[in-house]
């Protein structure tokens, strides 16, 4: 450029810099204390920092810094400028009235004709609103995502709530960026109650939680005498009796001033919805369990000359509750033991199970054979669009002859003190297939030491294992239990299964000749 064009251009450059809406500031290149001196600021810059040009000119940009200004960013800035490199960064700056705001700023060295840096030019944007919107969106997405995952792959109620509480705390932690996010609370659902506390600390935290808990759902904040501050919000849900609070603790005053408290409230609202969904889910699960239990026999059935013990264990998932059943029907000189599994889940499956259980009981009480009863049950299920499996074991009481008929159900385990094996039962098709299938009768050889273990697939099924392997494993477990006590055997099998995170319902029905009573002694 020639001197002449420079002279023409200079006023234009000055006017352009003055009038651009990008905040710009030019300083000297003095990096050591007292630091660079501001030689030019444009009106946009003054507006951003809330100061007049007159009080800024001759001062150092450090007057904009404050407690939350990132030391690491400043160190990086110094390194870049020392090396004559341009710098881009983000940190907290302060307006004259002390109000913090987040800037994204760029500093470029300005070099003279000799290549020596004489000044720096900084341009900056206030990105407080942008970053807050991004963080809020991301926190809300995290909470919504977490509840979706929990509802599609739920665990038990306590674990669900604790996971949700942890995820809410983690989302708020990321949102706020300071202090420590905590979620405390408890939930009461039917007869079960779970308390959860994530990151909670005794003492001061509990007091502030109490304040938050009493609050009307609006975001509150406060500081104690030692300058420790908190911001929080009630996390109560109208549904399911969840009480609780979300708070960010261990803050200092500067951090409290900078935190987007409205966003904390928004995420709390999001968390409240998530907890409500989980509570509703649990409520439905408990209704299904209650109905299921109502529809099963209340006490262990009595069969003269035999010990009979039954167990029902609901699945951990609402999607897996309901549908398993057991029953014992006495009719003249025979007893028919039944274990069944209604496909489907929840309240509907429990209700369908109630109908099917009653129907097969009536059919047997009318004197029909187990095979005939299952054939009629298949017709009923086919008409009603139900699908179920069932195993009926018939004991002729005077002779102690045992036979089994299966409608697509897993065969029983037959065990004596030294052996345990899967009974050979030829299955007829599961109930609901339609047509007029035949249900074959298979004889089971038993003696006075024989225990018959009938069960539903919830006791053995594993997605990663062939069903035959699962059956063999159960036979081994029954043999290993070698228990005289059928209740202990049942409880032991369920306990063993629970160690492997079962998800499905489990029904078990065990029978064996009573040791104290002889053959034919029982009255009919």
């Amino acid at each position: 450029m020639t001197q002449q064009t420079d002279d023409l251009l200079l006023p234009i450059l000055r006017a352009a810099l003055d009038q651009t809406r990008s905040a710009a500031c030019i300083t000297t290149a003095e990096l050591d204390r007292p630091g660079p001196e501001i030689v030019y600021v444009n009106p946009a810059y003054c507006e951003m920092i809330g100061r007049d040009e007159t009080e800024v000119l001759g001062a150092t940009p450090r007057i904009m810094q404050g407690p939350l200004t990132s030391r690491a960013e400043l160190d990086r800035l110094r390194r870049d400028l020392d090396a004559d490199r341009p710098f881009i960064g983000e940190t907290v700056n302060y307006r004259r009235d002390g109000q913090p705001f987040l800037i994204s700023w760029r500093i470029d060295p300005v070099q003279g004709p000799d290549g020596v840096t004489t000044h720096y030019i900084a341009t900056q944007d206030d990105i407080t609103a942008l970053r807050r919107a991004e963080r809020l969106l991301s926190a809300e997405k995290a909470v919504d995502g977490s509840v979706s995952i929990l509802l599609s792959h739920p665990a038990d109620a306590t674990t669900n709530l604790q996971t949700m509480a942890t995820d809410i705390a983690s989302a708020v932690s990321d949102l706020v960026g300071y202090g420590r996010a905590v979620v405390v609370g408890d939930v009461r659902l039917g007869t079960s109650r779970a308390a959860f506390a994530v990151g909670a600390r005794h003492g001061a935290d509990e007091q502030l939680m109490e304040q938050v808990r009493l609050g009307p759902g609006t975001v509150q904040s406060g500081c104690d005498d030692e300058g420790r501050c908190w911001v929080g919000c009630a996390l109560a849900s109208e549904l399911g009796g969840i009480g609780g609070a979300l708070a960010v603790v261990d803050l200092d005053q500067a951090e409290l001033d900078f935190i987007d408290q409205a966003a904390v409230g928004r995420v709390a609202e999001c968390g409240r919805r998530a907890l409500s969904s989980l509570a509703e889910y649990e409520r439905q699960r408990l209704v299904a369990i209650e109905l299921q239990r109502d529809l099963l026999p209340e006490t262990d059935p009595v069969v003269p000359g035999f010990d009979v013990v039954a167990r029902y264990q609901p699945g951990a998932f609402a999607t897996r509750v309901g549908g398993d059943w057991y029953d014992v029907v006495r009719d003249g000189q025979r007893a028919v033991l039944i274990v069944g599994d209604m496909a489907g889940s929840g309240v509907r499956a429990a209700a369908d199970m109630g109908r099917v259980r009653l129907l097969v009981k009536v059919l047997l009480q009318q004197g029909r054979s187990a095979a005939d009863a299952l054939a009629l049950l298949n017709q009923f299920c086919s008409e009603e669009d139900l699908v179920a499996t069932a195993l009926a074991v018939t004991i002729d009481l005077p002779t102690r002859e045992v036979s089994a008929v299966s409608a697509g159900h897993l065969p029983p385990v037959i065990s004596s003190p030294h052996t345990a094996e899967i009974a050979q039962v030829t299955p007829g098709p599961l109930l609901g297939i339609g047509g007029s299938p035949h249900y074959p009768r298979s004889t089971i050889t038993v003696d006075d030491d024989t225990t018959i273990v009938m069960f539903t697939d919830g006791l053995i099924e594993r997605p990663d294992e062939l069903i035959d392997v699962s059956l063999e494993r159960l036979a081994v477990e029954v043999l290993a239990a070698n228990s005289d006590d059928l209740a202990r055997l049942c409880d032991g099998l369920i306990l063993k299964r629970q160690a492997n995170n079962p998800t499905d319902d489990i029904a078990i029905l065990t029978v064996r000749p009573s040791h104290r009573s002889g053959v034919g002694e029982g009255s009919g």
């Binding site: 599609s152 792959h153 998932f317 999607t319 897996r320 549908g323 599994d341 496909a343 489907g344 889940s345 086919s382 669009d385 699908v387 499996t389 299966s406 409608a407 697509g408 159900h409 897993l410 065969p411 299955p427 007829g428 098709p429 599961l430 609901g432 297939i433 339609g434 047509g435 299938p437 697939d457 099924e461 997605p463 990663d464 062939l466 069903i467 035959d468 499905d504």
Partner: protein
Amino acid sequence: MASLDNLTVTTATDDSTLVIAEGQIDSHTSSLLDEALTAVAGDVPLSVNLAGITFVDSSGLRVIVGAHKRQLSGGGSLTIVKPSVPVARLLDITGLTPELQIVP
């Protein structure tokens, strides 16, 4: 092709309809297969390839039985093609092997 959790369902229609399911059919995923089989239900021969199925639970059986009944009542048919070992064993135990058309 539709995917849900561990299950992928692909439908191809030509002279007959072929639905290929791969993965696990359980209470989380069975609805996906049910939707695919319901969408192509009718008086056509319907084949379901289950070679890539590693696990089926009772909700999966329900879907298969439902499709079988639907096809029969609609004048069509359902053929299970190449059931994997876990599927074949489950069909045996549930007494479905003689009831369904199965092409190994």
